[in-house]
Symmetry: C2
Subunit: 160 residues, 2 copies
DNA sequence: TCTCGATTGCAAATCGGTATCACATAGCGT
DNA sequence: ACGCTATGTGATACCGATTTGCAATCGAGA
């Protein structure tokens, strides 16, 4: 087991969950990958844990979500993605490079809703557009980011 | 055909699409249901149009989305939902009654992102919490909303 | 170490959504 | 109104993602 998994173990125990090897590795991997879906996590981990089952990935993500340790991202046209829970924030999805960027959404808008009579408990914002680095690259077709470059192009159809 | 379908016909023709009975009825139904998924639309319409196929619902929603006549909603844990296109707005999902409420999000935040160097083209915000009417009802367990009361309760598991 | 309940992993089922293709229809010119 | 042709519709098969059932295994406390 990787040394930094002690951290994950602590979080799991704090939530009253058993700290199993799989859970610690999944949390650890999710922390490294950032915004990952079940498939990516599975494919990443199965290389080092050949016996890992997809079921375990799904079960674990579900359990961790229930325990409040991971968030589920909400992005249209994308499958379900997960991230380690932290302070609430929005996401920005760049349609050029497909990168998902955490936006430090100061909850200003949530507050304005709050004052309008709604109780806002969760924030699932996602903005789509073009990120800074893609703008910087301008109209050049240089694509440097290796991750998910296809599925989010201008065509509005689902990238399956 | 329902008399008010003339409205739908106009929209379809304006987008260069053929105005078929199914398309008009699907648009009309979507307008009545508000935020519906393909399944709800199908189940709602198949009662009056027994020959309707799910494929047609999916095809039509896809075509209408491409034509810009319907939006796709992005709400975590919910399947793909659709609504008639209008001015951009966010959604508020009440975890008590399960209702989805349109929020007149003035894009103030989108603008602040814009000035921060991002180009925001699409806004897919969704807030979760407790809506006004549920707050008004207080802790009383009276549930008056007939629609979708089960799938969105406090338990974070997917309501399938 | 032992024991028991929780977790894991396999296989199969399910589910939402898509691809294919024959048939029906709308919309156009006549 | 009639017939032609592109387009839309619907039945079925199909797909990948996710869930379920259940037996084997593991983790944590006695």
């Amino acid at each position: 087991m990787k040394p930094n998994c002690i951290d994950e173990r602590g979080k799991l125990v704090a939530c009253g969950m058993k700290s199993t090897y799989q859970r610690m590795r999944i949390m650890n991997c999710l922390g490294r990958l950032g915004h990952a879906d079940a498939k990516e996590l599975y494919e990443c981990l199965v290389q080092e844990m050949p016996s890992l089952s997809k079921t375990t990935v799904y079960n674990t993500l579900d359990a961790l979500h229930k325990a409040g340790l991971v968030n589920i991202l909400s992005i249209t046209g994308e499958g379900t993605r997960y991230e380690l829970a932290g302070k609430p924030h929005c996401h920005f999805l760049c349609r050029k490079c497909g990168k998902i960027i955490d936006m430090n959404f100061s909850c200003a808008h949530a507050h304005s809703l709050q004052s309008d009579g709604y109780i806002v408990e969760e924030l699932l914002g996602c903005f789509k557009g073009v990120c800074k680095s893609c703008q910087a690259r301008g109209a050049k077709s240089t694509r440097r980011t290796p991750a998910a470059p296809e599925s989010l192009k201008s065509t509005p159809r689902k990238g399956r």
